[in-house]
């Protein structure tokens, strides 16, 4: 029952800009999209920096995609699907003509819409998108999708869990194609929350680095189109395995023994039919917090030993996009597989962890890059990983 599914197309929007190709170039140029906050009051939060998308970009995205709704999360959702549609028209794929479903991956959806209700100013939220399934249905309706529609909320692992769920639905033959949409926006709610946990870095985050001091939040959207059938002429890879496991250890803190991550990596390899030696690159979670990154090093060294493949985190480029992270970073992983280039782990300089990690300090042009693993971890002790394989090898 463990069949592969194929990524037919992918698009992203981050604080680095609009489009997968544009973001890829920014990564290769080592550009950082983490800047001083513009939309939010500075001095209020533990950190004044984040991977924030400028307001004029939101306005431009709404105008270009004829979006009348002013909800930022709806704009990012629709705009990234708009970008994807450009690719799909070249591939002669019309989503509405197939049984296409949608899985939304988000942590807090449009949580700002709930503010007046929470503060007793009104008994009506600003919109219904505070509820992730309402947002999912609105996006599905706007794109005339007729397949299954649902939202996944598995914290920062949501994106990878959503990809696994889409794969399961395709394997059941319950849909022809599945869109996996990851989206989260910065909000007073989220900035205050991470400030209260004292887990934000005052400067752009430094994943895996000895001087790391916390995470940088980000916002953005990513979308993947998955199908059981590949599309001739297009180089996107296959999702050949994946797993999600729990640490059963702590609600917010990572496991000191990396229990869940070890299991998720082990099961991902087993389901993909690969050995650790077959993995050419790892896209880690790499938030830049002391304990998360140490946990990752423990899990990776347990599975891969001292010959671990290069690993990078993308959080140094556009911050931690929470529920969107798994989808945005998987989209960028498709570029990594296609180009056989691994952009450096921005912010990393010196490793000081007990366990070995082969962090890429500079851009790597590899001789062989056939298989990679991307994983994300989140509140509730959840760890999720998938293995991607270059097209034509599976």
């Amino acid at each position: 029952m463990n069949e592969s599914c194929h990524i037919l197309a992918a698009e992203i929007i981050t604080s680095l800009g609009v489009g997968l190709d544009h973001n890829w170039k920014q990564l290769l140029a080592q550009q950082c999209g983490i800047r001083k906050l513009q939309r939010f009051q500075t001095g209020k939060y533990f950190s004044d920096t984040a991977g924030e998308i400028p307001l004029d970009v939101f306005d431009e995205l709404a105008r270009k995609n004829s979006i009348e709704d002013d909800s930022k999360i709806f704009i990012l959702s629709q705009a990234v699907i708009g970008e994807l549609s450009k690719q799909l028209s070249g591939m002669q794929i019309d989503l509405s003509k197939h049984r296409t479903g949608l899985i939304l991956s988000t942590t807090k959806a449009d949580i700002e819409a709930l503010r007046p209700v929470a503060l007793g100013e009104s008994n009506r939220p600003l919109n219904n998108y505070w509820n992730s399934s309402c947002l999912a249905q609105a996006v599905a309706d706007a794109n005339r999708l007729t397949g299954p529609v649902m939202a996944v909320s598995n914290a920062c692992a949501s994106g990878i869990v959503a990809i696994l769920l889409a794969k399961s639905i395709l394997q059941q033959n319950a849909a022809d194609m599945m869109l996996v949409l990851g989206v989260d926006v910065l909000s007073d709610f989220v900035l205050s929350g991470f400030s209260s946990l004292v887990s934000l870095s005052k400067e752009p985050c430094k994943p895996y680095d000895a001087k790391r001091s916390g995470l940088s939040l980000g916002e953005g959207s990513g979308v993947l189109l998955l199908s059981k059938k590949s599309h001739s002429g297009y180089p996107f890879p296959a999702v050949i395995g994946g797993a999600a496991n729990n640490d059963a250890n702590h609600i917010t803190g990572p496991s000191r023994t990396a229990e869940g991550l070890k299991l998720a990596l082990k099961r991902t390899l087993k389901k993909a039919g690969l050995s650790p030696d077959d993995i050419d690159y790892i896209n880690g979670h790499g938030t830049g917090t002391l304990y998360n990154d140490a946990m990752e090093s423990k899990g990776i060294s347990f599975i891969f030993g001292h010959k671990s493949p290069p690993i990078t985190s993308m959080k140094g480029y556009f911050g931690h996009t929470l529920g969107a992270a798994g989808v945005i970073e998987t989209a960028l992983c498709t570029k990594i597989l296609n180009e056989t280039i691994v952009p450096s782990s921005l912010g990393f300089d010196v490793l000081d962890m007990e366990d070995h990690l082969n962090v890429a300090k500079s851009t790597l042009r590899l001789k062989k890059l056939n298989n990679l693993i991307t994983f994300k971890c989140g509140f509730g002790g959840i760890n999720a990983a998938i293995a991607l394989q270059k097209k034509g090898l599976s």
Binding site: M1, N2, R99, G101, T107, K108, L114, V117, A118, L119, P125, W130, N131, S132, S133, C134, A136, Q137, G147, P148, M150, A151, V152, S153, N154, A155, S158, V161, L165, S168, I169, Q171, Q172, N173, A174, A175, D188, F189, S192, G193, F194, S196, L197, V198, A243, A244, N245, N246, D247, A248, N249, I251, T252, E259, R267, G378, F379, G380, G381, I382
Partner: protein, 253 residues
Amino acid sequence: MKIYITAFAYINSRGFGGYAKHTNWTDIGVDNFNQCQWKQLFNSAFDRFGRLDSLSKHVVAAVELLGIPMPCNDMKDNETAVYIGTELGSYEVDKLFYKSITQPGGASPKLFSYTLPSTAIGEVAMRYNVTGPNLCISAGELTGLVALWESAAMLRSEEITRCITVISNAGSPDCDSASESSSYALLLSTKLPENTHKVICSVNFDDHEHNCPAVSDIQKLYDYIKKPQQEALWLATPKGYNTKNRLRIEHRG
């Protein structure tokens, strides 16, 4: 692949109860339940519920009613999954956290930790040492149906042998009272239970053409398990799923 329901539990405005080997609906006292007991369950400083948010309390309390033995050592169980379906997610604690932002003490880290519905999964996982797959899903009014369907699909894939599936809502936008909340928990298994549980129902993916009416409301499943009026109950295929399969639930007496 055979799938069994080996325990079922619920908490709603009518009370709480369950059906496992050592319990039945009446001996838990479902008919004698009142609001006062509800408050005792959730609103007082219960040791084991003290730090939990409303959703996690609903989820954990329902799972406790399944009668799964607490682990007696550090052994992890990676063959059991925890799947949660929740339409409202962390709505209640989201409002509380918002209030805390505006208060003099500032945003509460304790509340923020629970503003993701998946933390309820973590609470269950920690209690029972289960490290298997997790899913927290929301699909509007079909949330329960989709959660159950995907739990059965995960079991059918043979990745795991048990799934703790909880369909839970804590509070509602229209009515903040606990009486609008509900939680249903099921223990699904592909193995015949040994000591602690017994087979209550079998669950099959049924793709035969038939004209039997199907239901999409989990309350109907609860009614059927409690008092079967017919040989089998069919759960509807979730909207959008392009398959003839239905879940056929058959009571095993």
